[in-house]
């Protein structure tokens, strides 16, 4: 037995607390009993008891009216309901939301702590700017003017592409949409957000397999699963409330398999744990599929009706016999076979993956391999089956759907002239004006052909530093102004180069509730601006959970200190930059704040591709008010005003709001009519390839009048089918020459659904993606691999000259053998108490107290080899030259030869605490080395996703 020794906070290493973070609470707690006479006095029962805690202004008071406000947790994508108790505008209490069908009152530690947002003791309080190496408080007007002038100057000199707009998955849908629009009005595609570095490979891989790149089912639907396989997902720490549904499924008899290099909290609940070497997902999945094919466990009827190209996969899988799988992944045959057998014998089964699968140079191969596994088992499009891809941030799904992304316009319309045309019509703007906002100089595109910047994918978030530093890039000039709007740079790899890039910038603008690691990790002396953004509890709007359901947040409190909601800040910038009238042409603006409901209604008008058209503010609010009427397994309302609708109208919610489509709870589920949430696989890739039919054969959704595959709907298709006259006259005018994606009246969708058809057609899922570097997913060794013996068999890609405007290296890095000097595999991941860059949580005393030190998990064998004791400070050396200092945690969670670090820490840089560089009173309570300072180069071959799950390192004692 040992008492957990942590004498007092102040005595910890500087890492633990800011010296003046010994705040009121700590002070009062301590000052109560001192030595000597004071102690005698204060311990007398007659003296007033010291307070249990001392933030009286946030304590609930007796006799004051309490208001209950419903909001949605701002941490992860589960979408937990939050009930806030507010007294006189002060957030004094938090209650469980038992009525929410997602969390049924449950919260994880982060969700249970959201009240702290209203205290905001460590928040950024005022706009600030760095002058002469010192932070100076300025007014909002000064800030907007100075920043705007500098932006316009840079625009003049280097073109609009030299200003980078980094958005956030923490935006509400309305803010995300407005932000993407703002970047478009400014005239650049250099806009992106964290989805690039979390699930971009999923979106690309999955959308190219069956149509949409999103979670197919829902957390609640997992109650119906008979088997659940988690690959690279640690739901217990990343999506704790999802575990409520997962464990319920397990109690219903579902089998649970966890495949992970690390024995996670999720693995602790698994029936079957598969440990494998980081970065060998494809090999492992093909290993399982080898057993499935070998034993004929695949669903042959399903495959013949709904899957295309599986024979080509079979050829690849044949190579992955158990010996080869063990050689590459390190997993023995019986373990892999047992996993395959569990999946085969328990159907429907669902697959869950997260960052462990996506953040690789072959991330898109991984995600497609997972899809193929599910398709072979016939699990997609079924309740209890599906690919349950758990998203990260609370609104990363929404921000992705609104394409705060450098390669697309909202709704995944892409960057083609057609897409710009569509959105210009929605915005009611002249397409020529929009085009005129962009740089007019054509540049050499990714394929080597000249391309207009308007149609050219911008630089992604993972590579913005190269947009600053690299020469010979696909735009007029380097990035000179970086706007980090709700982005934690410590979630990005290659710290030393990022520092260099930050110092090269003309101006760095950080818009966030906290100063963030970006404010302190560089040695800039001038031209850094910090603008305090409000959290989502200080504003309102819609948010999309991982299962595609939209929920509405109400405003809990007014923005604290001088912070402003993001959309207000966007409008202020637009006004300064002279694009406000275009930005808010059909949006009412009150006192610089665009009206949120108007923004919702505007995107409802244009988001036809993925069915964000039916979720009007009124409908979403009605779902919120009646959330207790929804079934917690099916998410379908039973009675009440929303009878028959699915909670939050998971997209696609086809047609206009008036059409009252209930939303689609399970994607591609043909057992229900499309009008009631049924669907088929999307006919996205044409009707045939190399002479082979890509449309479904003999499979169609319930009630479909076309009893076979069919292409997507266009005006011409309606005419051929003789359904044209089902349109009203107005609809006919709007639909003429348009398709289901561009018909602003929604008439084509309405008529297709009326006849039981999916507007996007009925095709097969494809397992052979001919447009990708690896049409069939193959294994490729990571750039920094310890297995040099496998590099010849499984080499990485060739270097690319221009990819998302940037030169991108693969083979030239893999050619170097680092494994001698850096023998240990380094992987990274999540902690339950923190999220993302962790700025918010590390500033929250309730959460910060639980994780006070940045640490590295080391297997006892490696610890002994390197002479490291549990709890001691160690150095981690990265092959790219960074050295990181953190605490050792000697544990069997990781296998020998692998170390794990969490990625939420910041505020240290290469062993140095940056406390002094924070504006006064804004430093997080807990600071630590950011593991991404040491993580290395490596980007996915389709989306530029960064490689954070496999690198190499060396560990030594301090």
């Amino acid at each position: 037995m040992k008492l957990i020794k942590k004498q007092r906070v102040s005595q910890g290493s500087g890492q633990q607390m800011h010296s003046d973070a010994i705040d009121r609470r700590t002070f009062l707690r301590r000052s109560g009993v001192a030595l000597g006479g004071a102690a005698v006095a204060s311990s007398l029962p007659l003296t007033m008891m010291r307070q249990a805690e001392a933030s009286p202004e946030f304590a609930p008071k007796e006799g004051i009216q309490t208001e209950r406000i419903h909001s949605i947790c701002t941490h992860c994508s589960v979408g937990c309901g939050v009930i806030a108790e507010v007294q006189n505008g002060v957030w004094t209490g938090q209650e469980p939301d038992f009525e929410s069908p997602f969390n049924l009152g449950g919260h994880c530690s982060k969700g249970a702590s959201v009240r702290e947002h209203g205290m905001g003791e460590h928040r950024l309080k005022y706009p600030m700017k760095l002058t002469g190496g010192k932070w100076k408080r300025i007014s909002w007007d000064e800030a907007i003017n100075e920043i705007g002038d500098q932006m316009l100057k840079v625009r003049e000199e280097s073109g609009p592409d030299s200003v980078y707009w980094m958005g956030s998955a923490k935006f509400s849908n309305e803010q995300a949409y407005l932000f993407r629009k703002l970047a478009a009005m400014w005239g650049t595609n250099n806009v992106d957000h964290q989805a690039r570095i979390c699930h971009s490979t999923t979106v690309a891989g999955v959308a190219n397999t069956w149509g949409y790149g999103a979670m197919t089912n829902s957390y609640n639907d997992m109650h119906n699963s008979k088997a659940m396989i988690f690959i690279g997902s640690n739901a217990a720490e990343a999506h704790p409330v999802a575990m409520q549904h997962i464990l319920r499924a397990k109690e219903n008899g579902s089998k649970m398999i966890v495949c992970d290099p690390r024995f996670t909290r999720t693995a602790a609940h698994a029936d079957h744990f598969v440990r494998f070497r980081p970065g060998t997902d494809v090999a492992l999945v093909w290993g399982m599929l080898w057993h499935i094919f070998e034993n004929g466990w695949e669903d042959k009827e399903y495959i013949s009706q709904r899957v295309w190209g599986l024979d080509r996969v079979r050829e690849e899988v044949k190579k992955w016999n158990p010996q080869e799988v063990e050689r590459v992944t390190g997993t023995p045959e019986d373990v892999v076979k047992q996993a395959a057998q569990i999946l085969a014998e328990n159907r429907p089964g669902t697959i869950v993956w997260c960052m462990g699968g996506t953040q690789h140079t072959i991330g898109n191969n991984n995600t497609r391999a997972y899809c193929v596994l599910q398709l072979a088992l016939g699990n997609i499009g079924k309740s209890g089956g599906g690919a349950n891809i758990f998203r990260g941030h609370d609104n990363v799904q929404g921000a992705t759907d609104f394409c705060v992304l450098s390669h697309s316009l909202p709704g995944y319309y892409g960057l083609s002239n057609g897409a710009w045309g569509h959105w210009s019509r929605v915005w009611d703007l002249d397409p020529e004006w929009v085009k005129g906002q962009f740089s007019q100089e054509e540049v050499e595109g990714d394929g080597g052909k000249p391309v207009h910047p308007m149609n050219y994918k911008g630089i992604p978030v993972s590579r913005w530093i190269d947009g600053v530093l690299e020469e010979n890039i696909g735009q007029k000039d380097n990035i000179r102004v970086q706007v980090l709007w709700g982005h934690a740079v410590n979630s990005q790899t290659r710290g030393p180069e990022m520092k260099k890039a930050m110092e090269k910038l003309d101006m760095l603008v950080i818009i966030d509730p906290h100063p963030t690691h970006a404010a302190v990790m560089n040695d800039r002396k001038e031209g850094t601006y910090l603008l305090p953004a409000a959290t989502q509890f200080e504003t309102y709007g819609s948010v999309t959970a991982s299962n595609r359901s939209l929920q509405w947040r109400d405003k809990v409190i007014e923005p604290v200190w001088e912070s402003l909601p993001d959309h207000t800040i966007m409008y202020k910038f637009a006004k300064k930059l002279g694009i406000a009238d275009q930005l808010c042409k059909h949006i009412k603006v009150n006192n610089d704040e665009p009206l949120v409901e108007d923004i919702t209604l505007e995107f409802n008008k244009g988001m036809w591709t993925i069915g964000y058209t039916g979720q009007s503010p009124d409908r979403i609010k009605s779902h919120m008010a009646n959330r207790k009427t929804f079934n917690t397994t099916t998410l379908k309302a039973e009675g009440g005003p929303n009878d028959g609708e699915y909670f939050g109208m998971p997209w696609p919610c086809w047609g206009t709001a008036e059409m009252k489509h209930p939303g689609t709870p399970v994607l591609y589920d043909p057992s229900k009519p499309v009008a009631e949430g049924g669907l088929t696989f999307r006919a996205r890739f044409g009707v045939e390839h190399d002479g082979e039919n890509l449309l479904a054969e003999g499979s169609y959704s319930d009630g479909s009048e076309i009893r076979d595959g069919y292409p997507e709907f266009k005006a011409d298709v309606l005419k051929q089918l003789g359904w044209w006259d089902d349109l009203t006259d107005d609809e006919k005018t709007a639909a003429e020459g348009k398709n289901w994606k561009t018909d602003l009246s929604g008439g084509i969708q309405r008529v297709a659904i009326k006849h039981g058809c999916a507007p996007f057609g009925n095709a097969k899922a494809r397992t052979f993606v001919w447009t990708f570097p690896d049409p069939i997913p193959v294994h490729r060794e990571p750039l920094y691999t310890p297995r040099r013996d496998l590099v010849t068999d499984y080499p990485t890609y060739e270097d690319r000259k221009r990819f998302y405007r940037l030169p991108t290296r693969y083979a030239s890095i893999q050619a170097n053998d680092f494994s001698k000097d850096f023998p240990i595999i380094w992987t990274s991941g999540r902690l339950v108490e923190y999220e993302g860059g962790g700025e918010e949580q590390r500033s929250n005393p309730w959460l910060a107290e639980l994780q006070q030190d940045m640490f590295v998990e080391i297997n006892p064998a490696d610890a002994n080899d390197n002479g490291i004791r549990d709890g001691q400070m160690v150095w981690i050396d990265s092959p790219e030259g960074a050295k990181l200092k953190m605490k050792a945690m000697v544990t069997r969670r990781v296998a020998p030869g692998v170390v794990f670090t969490p990625f939420h820490f910041g505020g240290w840089y290469q062993g140095e605490d940056l406390l002094a560089k924070y504006p006064e009173g804004t430093a997080p309570l807990v600071r630590g080395e950011a593991c991404n300072t040491g993580l290395t180069y490596g980007y996915d071959s389709v989306t530029q996703m960064q490689e954070t799950k496999v690198s190499l390192c060396r560990i030594r004692a301090t």
């Binding site: 037995m1 957990i4 020794k5 004498q7 005698v40 311990s43 007659l46 994780q851």
Partner: protein, 335 residues
Amino acid sequence: MAKQQKTKGRHAKIILWSVVTIMLGATLLPLTGYIYVGVTSASAQATEESNPRANYWRAVREGGAGYVASQGPYTTNTLIQNGGQNWRQIRNGPVSTYTPWLLAAVIGAILIFHLVRGRIKVTEPRSGRMVERWGMGERVLHWYTAILFIILAITGLSMLFGRTVLIPLLGPEGFAAWASVARLAHNYLGPFFAVGILIEIVWWIRHNIPNATDMKWFAQGGGILTNTHPPAGRMNGGEKLWFWIICTFGVAVVVTGIILDFPNFEQSRETMQLVNIIHTVAAMVWIAVAIGHIWIGTLGSEGSLEGMTTGRVSEEWARQHHDEWLEQVKSREQS
């Protein structure tokens, strides 16, 4: 000469071993309670049904330590500690049951003896000749420790028996007020008392080496019952016994007290429980003996108190109680 050295060596050995025995006894005897608890809980466990996952849950019951994210001075990584129940059983059971009886027995015995036998008088009439027995330093030291001892004893007893004895008298609030003062006094004065005790031991140890005279003194029971006065040096057998009790029980109390008083050195709860039991039992024994000491020094024996107050005793008293010492003093004066 050689023979004398040989006996001296034997004396040293005897002293050493008696110290060790008494120390060990004082430390270990109270712990026999743990054996009792161990035996009873073992028999209770035997009746439990066998369980397929018994190993895991047995580990929990046995207080297996785990990982805990929460941190704080009083946060433990153990799920269930059984020591607490054992400690409670011993403290609330045998310790608080038997130790007051020990006190009662001592006081009762003194009372009866006093009523029956009365005060031990100095038989010869006082001649007025005085002999210096205690130097100024010795007297200051004695009263320093004596006063602290009394305060610590009263406050300590309040902690152990206040709930039974004082709450009915003072009421919960009144007693809580007293108890918080008492606890503070006990905790803050304890270390000062410890210093005094250690100085006393060092200072007086040379006068308290047992010798053959003491054996005779003990053989005659100190002459208390027979109303005789066996020969004695500066310290008689009884005083030496008192000294050695301080050296053993007293030191045990002091050491355990320091451990309890400074909880900020990562002592585990098990340590604190163990130490608390030793502290309590040893202190109770010490208090019981001290009551005897106080009685003899004040009411029990005429003329003793003068020695500790004025530093000098009458020659008659000295002859009666410490004849050999008087001889020594006289011969020293003559030479």
